[in-house]
Subunit: 347 residues, 4 copies
């Protein structure tokens, strides 16, 4: 699949940001300052004042509260969608129909029907659609992927990917399956990325509310372990927890017939301290520290690919595949049994 | 529970070794040279010449092919059982009935009925019974256990223990459930050790023959991931594979409400090399290198406890608890569903 | 000392680059794209075409072969000097006299008289003068400095700083004392940075041509160890070599009465590989990878300080102090004896 | 040079320990329990009760206060000398003349004349003489030596060896040059061991009393950096300090034309803790933990070599060579100038 080049030759890509929250603000800064081939052309956020404040800070001339207005602007070449998860698929569809190249934060959709709708819209419009699985742009995870793809560790047999957030986000907005649909979705994509060419076939999940047991009756799960069997035989584990007191912990491991790779490092810097209590080092706390370079790299790559008409490196189909594992995990929790991806019931 | 002190005060404990294979030979060397409080008083092995060769090498005056003869020897205070797994329970029972303190290699039994029989025999005879979960005597795993027990990482929420053997043992003697009953049994015990006071309640396993797919039809599994839910909510993963090309890999991780601990190091020494191809270090290949000190420490501790009448640190009940997880994993593989420990069906 | 704020309020600082070589090009890219508060207003390089090529690539409207023309341009607020070392002091003086804020690559000067001249010119003109000791902007070295300054390791007693370049640069342009004046100058500054408040009092150096013994008769030294005694008693070692086959190696260590800090990591990413030959990881090869973030941070900090009239964090006086150690090392090599900084003979 | 085999064939080597202090006690335990080929046949220490207490604890039948009596005992095959440093050479000479194989703790002598006298006595008696440079028996340092010897890192160009003791020993018994003659003597030997075939030619030392400045007027130095030039061009640094609050720190580094090796690890175990304050690990505090295996290995190797008449791996000549560097460092401190080993003045 290829897409038409977007933007005006010789001009930076005009990108509109949709969603001026924490992640959106970071992407806006990247578009404004860190990516030579792009410029922040507009910001839209329905929350009163949010778009304006961000636009003012970054010297962006165009702040909107009406997302539709941004999508309708013919000056905009591409959009970055950084709104709440459940709005993503609709926005991808609308942006694609408006002819914009689309970068969408994960998850691209929370049902398979929505995922299919978003993918189809992008295909029909011939626009690029890239999904924000930023770990694919982290130097360590990327090098691991390339080594596995090159056969350096033989056939993958055991994989592990984990995410431990630094602290439990305010539980109010967390919906019952957030841990699978919004957190572990990264790990499900990472497992596919570290097992290139293989696809998941069976999923089993165990989960619980251990960080905040008081929210368990509201269906809030904050600790989960998901086992995934792939069609090349590899057995993978994805693990998440919402409150790591030591920092933001993202690690991966691939064990194969000819070797093993490990990735991930919670250290903030290369400084190590030695004192009467032993050895000490500081941890990374915020994900924008840990993945700062990866966030910039993915948007830079999106920009380059959109301008040259090259298919994005992380597609809507990738988002759908990770979503399938997440939905199978949800179903596994509900039924307390392993779930075949092919027999996944749409919820 | 306490046991009567064994041995003659002022004399080293007279220990008889049963089983002169690889592990038995190492224990014999420890008894002969590394443990001041013990002496190697006899070696018995039904294989012609095996006991004699080992006894000669270590200057032990008493080599036997009849194990019963060793057990009947009133000069013997204690026995170390290092025979094939399926003979362990009978030998524990016989040794206990003969009034010997018993150190038994893992697994102590391969059915719950056998485990109960062995435990009962030791209790009735009032003899010490210690099981060879050597990782409990490794300095790193032990320090981790103590930190968890002291509350340093709060309540455990996620655990991991893995074993990857350096190479696939000759598959001929491997029986279908070896990976659970003889390999992962270590990890199941480690998970209990790292989650002190908690007990397993539910088990799910995925496994396959990925190292030697040609033996799959003989039921040989060489790769497995087991998920275990504990009664304190913690969710644990145990993972094994029979052929790690890089060496002998044993690691553990405990994540809790107040911190995380990691254990295990495959490095052979503290030497690191830097060259045109980057950074390099050598790995540990044989388990007797990796756990050399732990093997000696466990037998030294057994010796001390037996001589002083102190209950062993790793009991028959511990062996039974680990076996329960292993048998639940077997049942989970057979039924492809999670298994409650309380509803475990005896095979 | 404070300086007058430079630049036009509300406008990015207009920075002219002098010297379009490797380091200059990187700084130009930072000014063009990575530092919101600055813009690349002009590039000057006497080499035919060099300035033009760089300016074209970065969309800079003003490319010059006459450095004087750039310095005379009233639109230019500040200059970045990235020319060969021996031209630095003159250019700092000229730029200061032209009223420009000055960022100068290390070494700011190669004689104390030149250093004094440059410092005086900046003081008299009231312009900011910052020197390119980029390691002070590396997160690990900076955190170490702050810990030492806070008293976390007590009084420094032993220090170490080392630089090993990935490969011997073409020896033709290397002048006899390059290893001290251009390479170890970083380490001399680092030692001062890691021993805040202390000053060097005595220096002894050993050096040789081990990488290229054939150039020894031309006075080319490629391997050196310098011992420095500080006025707080600390004894420090600086070490350099021009050809590390494994990569670019920059490390530091401070040992004090209450602890130790180590800094520096040659690993390229957090990926570790395990295979039949053991454990492996890749090394950083180019200094712009290793210090990419530090190079950007120092120029961003310069920009901010210049715009707000804040004294630079790395001053001409710092450059002079590091130069004193370098010149003492040169004298120590020449006399094969320790040299007191206070009795340093100007060459 | 070869020596005659000592001891009675088929019997363990009968070893007499001279000096029942901390190090002697450890060696006695090794001889009693850890080394199959040796037995602890006698203990001698002039301090009232010291030999008896140690002998009683280890079941050794022969405790003496007269060292001469031990040396005169024809039942003794070999002696281990673990008395204060300044008595070593005389005891080596006396033991050699008595026909005993000799293992002598470092330093073997504190003057070159004494060293020569000890070496000559051993040669004339045809007895084995091994010196206690235990780092040569540490697995990491040994693997490094072998790699360098095999050419894996090309020609050594830069070396480092350091010793930081966990705490300042009671300063009363410390004599002025202890840091060179008793502490750094290890590092001087290590530098030779890591630069096989090369010999030191020039030495420069800086030292101070930073841990206990109040003892400086008594000539007590507790912090030192020594630079050594070798005849293959390599430049080496040896560094020592008497009070590392974090533990016992012994590390080495060899940088060569084809790579680098690093050795040494202060971690007590492979346990790492992660908590709100970051990452933590415990340090090794006592040298008998850090070098436990090395201490046993060196005595076991001595035993084997003595029994088979093989020349010891660490000879009196090695002790003399390390002593030469130490004495050159002393002279360098006294004269504040570099000292050529060949022009070393005997004190």
């Amino acid at each position: 699949m290829t897409t038409l080049p977007a933007g005006t030759p010789g001009q930076p890509l005009a990108v509109g940001l949709v969603g001026a929250g924490r992640m959106g603000s970071f992407h806006a800064e990247s578009l404004a300052h860190r990516i030579p081939g792009a410029r922040l052309a507009a910001v839209a956020d329905p929350a009163p004042g949010a778009a304006q404040r961000l636009a003012d800070r970054l010297g962006c001339p165009n702040a909107l509260t009406d997302i539709g207005e941004l999508l309708a602007d013919p000056q905009i070449d591409a959009v970055v969608i950084a709104t709440p998860a459940r709005t993503h698929a609709d926005l991808v569809e609308a942006a694609a129909r408006a002819g914009k190249a689309v970068y969408c934060e994960k998850p691209m959709a929370v049902t398979l029907a929505d995922a299919d709708r978003a993918i189809t819209a992008a295909h029909q419009a011939g626009v690029a659609l890239q999904v924000g699985f930023n770990r694919r742009y982290d130097a360590g995870f990327r090098a691991a992927h390339e080594k596995v793809a090159s056969g350096a560790i033989g056939t993958p047999q055991l994989l592990r990917s984990l995410t431990r957030d630094p602290k439990l986000a305010d539980p109010a907005p967390i919906r019952p399956w957030t841990i699978f649909l919004e957190t572990l979705i990264h790990d499900f994509d990472t497992l596919r990325y570290l097992n290139p060419g293989a696809e998941p076939v069976e999923v089993f999940a165990m989960a619980d509310a251990l960080v905040r047991p008081d929210f368990k009756d509201r269906g809030l799960l904050d600790t989960a372990v998901v086992t995934v069997r792939f069609d090349n035989g590899a057995i993978a584990t994805a693990e998440a927890n919402f409150q790591a007191v030591y920092g933001y912990d993202v690690r991966g491991e691939v064990f194969g017939s000819a070797g093993m790779l490990t990735m991930g490092d919670v250290r903030r810097t290369h400084l190590t301290s030695y004192g009467p209590d032993g050895i000490a080092a500081e941890c990374v706390t915020y994900d924008q520290d840990l993945f700062h370079d990866a966030y910039v790299a993915e948007l830079a790559d999106f920009t380059t690919r959109v301008r040259t008409g090259t298919t994005p490196a992380v597609t809507g189909e990738d988002a759908r595949a990770a979503l399938s594992i997440a939905l199978a995990a949800v179903q596994s929790i509900t039924t307390n049994s392993p779930v075949l991806i092919d027999e996944l019931k749409e919820q």
